[in-house]
Symmetry: C2
Subunit: 159 residues, 2 copies
DNA sequence: AAAAAAAATGCATAAATATGCAAAAAATAG
DNA sequence: CTATTTTTTGCATATTTATGCATTTTTTTT
């Protein structure tokens, strides 16, 4: 699934820095080893609800749409469920295993949900350590994850 | 002051209907008797913080930037103060006189602020009737207007 | 009120983005 | 595993948007 990784990286890149053209974004993707063309990028941005907005300083930058930021109404939902392989628990923390190379992006996505329950995450290549906030139980984290990634637990059981 | 009227109309048009290209917006402006070119429109949209975002149904539409909607950080503020000529009071209501042709747009702008104090407005060509909500005093409406349109009262006094 | 400065505009065109179509890749069914 | 359907992609190009520059309009200053 080449596409999901690219979509995540796109979200990440436009979140981390101001990017003003698709060509600029394209270059950054390629630096990360993700090949892509402008055409595909244009389509992906549309799907993600990302648009080019005036940056207030005379230029433009890419940004998540107001719509996507303000509501959950946007019909497209990034589905990361398929890249998650296994979830286990140890020492009050949660260990999430993903397909190779997907841990960092997935962790970024989880962080992006801004949930109180989650104190932070650390990601390697295919493993994420999720640290719950003090006083939060593992079942609480499970339901939190389920709300971030609907269908997650059902998917895990299948494997 | 040709420009302000156009800016207001642009805001109004993209608020009222989904518009997907500048050419489409241009046509609607012209239908309203407001001449404009695509070049100017592009610049105006940038100034207003309006951008073209995916509409979630496979197309695009123009929309106020998230930034503008969420915060007051956007450096450009539409300055309607110059079109307002006079403010008087009658029967617990407020009568606002504007330059010819500017009442409707100005009222739209005031409505858009979504203030509790204001029950509603009715606009003719150069006059707005502002109806305060029950229990709201004229001085309260004055300070409400001042916050929507900073500098308003100072301007009025000068004339 | 005239001169000077600043802002707005149109034209032409550059820059940037979107998309039809055919090919390739991936997912699904049998 | 192979055939079928669906999804994704690139290429080429159409569409759409942004902007440099010269000109006009508006505002400010004197």
């Amino acid at each position: 699934m080449q596409k999901i990784g690219r979509l995540l990286e796109i979200e990440k890149l436009i979140t981390e820095a101001d990017i003003s053209t698709q060509d600029e974004l394209l270059r950054k993707l390629r630096e990360k080893g993700i090949p892509c063309t402008q055409a595909t990028l244009s389509r992906n941005l549309k799907q993600l609800g990302i648009s080019r907005i005036p940056d207030g300083s005379g230029g433009y930058k890419y940004s998540l749409s107001a719509m996507l930021r303000l509501t959950d109404a946007f019909p497209f939902k990034l589905n990361l469920v398929p890249v998650i392989r296994e979830i286990t628990e140890a020492r009050g923390m949660m260990i999430i295993r993903t397909l190779p190379g997907n841990a960092s992006n997935t962790a970024f996505f989880i962080d992006g949900a801004g949930r109180f329950e989650i104190a932070g995450t650390i990601a390697g290549d295919d493993t994420i350590l999720l640290i719950p906030r003090d006083g939060i139980t593992i079942p609480q984290v499970h339901s939190c994850l389920e709300s971030i990634l609907p269908g997650l637990h059902e998917q895990i059981k299948k494997k």
